[in-house]
């Protein structure tokens, strides 16, 4: 069994600079791209690109307000993202346990074969 966080969600949150943008949207409710660009050490263009990816992943949505476009977080999607990523850590734990079982069984088999060989040779 494997949990696959969907690609778009993963690449949206996996990127640290994008996470910075998401953080700012979460912390400030409704914000414009130009306000965001003033808060981060990368260009306005990069901010727009990050917002596009976040919107594509469903993590933020936009609303036009007068002349401005304002971004806000989509709370249900954020909740889903959080749960999926927690599950990812659990998934690695399961894989490590499986590796442990396989390696210990292979090792026990090797010792057993070695003993048999020695007994034959004696």
């Amino acid at each position: 069994m494997t949990v696959q966080v969907d690609d778009r969600l993963w690449s949206a949150i996996g990127d640290p600079s994008r996470r910075r943008v998401l953080d700012l949207v979460i912390g400030n409710e409704r914000v414009s791209a130009s306000w965001l660009a003033d808060q981060v050490p990368f260009s306005r263009q990069a901010v727009s690109k990050h917002l596009g990816v976040l919107e594509g992943a469903g993590l933020v949505s936009r609303q036009r307000q007068g002349r401005e476009v304002l971004y806000q977080v989509e709370i249900d999607r954020l909740d889903q993202a959080t749960r999926e990523m927690t599950e990812l850590a659990v998934q690695w734990d399961r894989r490590l346990v499986a590796i442990k079982r396989l390696a210990e069984a292979a090792h026990a088999r090797a010792i057993e074969e070695d003993n048999q060989r020695r007994n034959r040779d004696d």
Partner: protein
């Protein structure tokens, strides 16, 4: 650390070379990892992991038996995995005596190499939080907003 990081470890009662084979031989990988593993374990090799009807490409990065094995995955489907668009999975094996191995796995994203050095430093200063803290905080935000 500045990224999305998962770090886990386990102690195995077997020598490192045995653990290494379980981690890197495609036949063994299909027992604990993907349902199907199409992979040649060589630095730079491109492969594919299938999980049921899903799956994705991987690119092997480091093969240093029996201590370090790493690959990149989870990049956007139409892109070649590289620093900045993918996750790096690293397996580190540390012998503890001849019969026991500590196995550590980390899944992490990596710094943005296309940034200017001062941007990186500034970013790192502003954003030292690791993956675990980020998750905890998100969960807090979610429950506060749902109320």
């Amino acid at each position: 650390m500045t990224g999305l990081n998962i770090e886990r470890e386990i102690l195995i009662e077997a020598p490192a070379d045995v653990v290494w084979r379980i981690i890197t031989e495609p036949e063994q990988m299909s027992l604990w990892f993907a349902d199907r593993v199409d992979l040649v374990v060589e630095p730079g090799a491109h492969g594919y992991l299938s999980f049921g009807d899903q799956g994705g490409p991987v690119v092997i990065e480091t093969v240093d038996p029996p201590t370090l094995f790493s690959f990149r995955w989870n990049h956007p489907r139409d892109e070649v995995p590289a620093a900045g668009n993918s996750m790096l999975v690293e397996f580190r094996l540390t012998p503890e005596g001849d019969q026991r191995t500590r196995l550590q796995v980390a899944e992490r994203d990596v710094e943005h190499r296309d940034w200017a050095e001062e941007e990186k430093v500034r970013y790192a200063d502003e954003h030292r939080e690791g993956w675990g803290e980020f998750l905890d905080r998100l969960a807090g935000v979610v429950s506060a907003m749902s109320r």
